[in-house]
Amino acid sequence: MHGMPTILPLQVEGLTLHRDGKRLLDGVGFALPRGGVTALIGPNGAGKSLTLRLCHGLIQPDDGTIGWAIGSGRIAGRPRHAMVFQRPVMLRRSVRANLVHALRALDFDQPEHRAGAALARYGLADLAERPARLLSGGEQQRLAIARAWALEPELLMLDEPSAHLDPGATRQIEQIIAGLAAEGMTILMTTHDLGQVRRLANRVLFLHAGRLKEDAPAEQFLRAPASPEARAFLAGDLLW
């Protein structure tokens, strides 16, 4: 990978977002260098998903900037960051066709071949011709990750990747994420599962009420959070 053009580090500065007179994000800023698993955590409504969506370009901030090392996060016209949504969006097609559709949309050559590789890697080959929407929750999430992986992103963003999954499926998804990180893919994910943070993340961004309260190594954050909000969050108090 060295020497290849890269969109990272991502430099986020002063992200602010208003909706219906409410300030949902207020001056959120952080830098995301290459590598590692960064967990965006915080209470419901803190702005975790919004931050991901802003970084991925799905919504525009009222103020602030999202700066990629190259262009707008694209190289050769193709976005180099991909996103997996909390509820995987499954097209009304077969598992294979879901992969091929995404690859075609971004003009990858040999979409069938690449789809086959993604199916094999994520253990979906036996399910390839099944309608994607009939898969179990865990299988759908695996397909969503496979579909994002097939687009060869440098940065993969995942919004609560195991929120609706049973422990077995959660373990599978965590293994996949850890494997991707080990291969050098940069991961930015939201979660409300502190155990997952401990198992996967090496860095924590703690959001509270639209503000970034802490940016610390995961181990340090879990052991000795600096802000009273984070201490209360870790102690399981409801935050307002």
Binding site: L58, P79, V89, R93, R133, L134
Partner: protein, 233 residues
């Protein structure tokens, strides 16, 4: 002639492939299928545009189109008649009392169904798919092929409903076609005419074909929605 005798004569017409009988059935199918095809070519893109575009007056337009789904066929026939009649704006084309005029009238009947159904189906799909498709750079018209394909079963049901409406109507084709023997006489107009003349076998035979057609359309629609449910999960 009693009803039983008429029924026997009607079945004889059908099984002996009576040329006049076949000609009427054939014309009806040609007119209605062409109308549905034209309505699909116009209505699918228009419905897709209406599903994705946002502009002032959009809601009013949707309400009008939904309302036009219930347009009485005789009114559609009357409007087309006024346009195509010799003193009308399209009079010089000489289309009045031709199969083409009937296709135009039935297209007008089917079009609102296709547009409204496409709009509703695609708008719902877009709500669900928006973030994923935006993520893939498929916004605006680039999203339309995906949405049309994923709405294929609902859209097929809509086209079948349009076919059902057009094949069963009598008012529009009667007015603009003129019910001319061997030229613009369809199943429905023939049934109306022959019944009033007392020629029950032909009317009854055509009625049976119409019924069978309706049944087939509904069966196909049911199958489409069943298969669609399989994919929709």
């Amino acid at each position: 002639m009693d009803a039983l005798g008429a029924m026997q004569a009607a079945i004889r017409l059908m099984v002996t492939f009576d040329p006049q009988f076949l000609q009427i059935v054939g014309l009806s199918l040609r007119v209605t299928l062409t109308a549905v095809l034209v309505a699909a070519i116009i209505g699918l893109p228009l419905g897709a545009w209406l599903a994705l575009a946002r502009f002032p007056g959009r809601t009013a337009l949707i309400v009008v189109i939904n309302g036009l789904m219930g347009l009485p066929p005789v009114v559609a026939g009357l409007v087309v008649f006024l346009f195509l009649s010799r003193s009308g704006p399209l009079g010089p084309l000489g289309l009045l009392f031709t199969p083409t005029a009937m296709i135009i009238a039935q297209t007008i009947l089917v079009l609102p169904i296709v547009i409204a159904l496409t709009r509703g189906t695609l708008e719902e799909l877009w709500q669900e798919y928006r973030e994923h498709l935006t993520s893939l750079g498929l916004t605006g018209w680039r999203a339309v092929p995906t949405l049309l394909w994923d709405g294929r079963f609902a859209l097929a049901t809509g086209l079948l409903a349009g076919f059902g409406r057009a094949s069963a109507e009598v008012g529009a084709v009667l007015i603009v076609g003129g019910n001319i023997a061997n030229y613009t006489r369809t199943m429905t107009t023939t049934i109306a005419l022959e019944t009033s003349k007392g020629d029950l076998p032909l009317a009854l035979g055509l009625g049976l074909v119409l019924m069978a057609l309706t049944l087939a359309i509904n069966a196909a629609g049911y199958a489409a929605s069943r298969i669609g449910t399989r994919f929709a999960g």
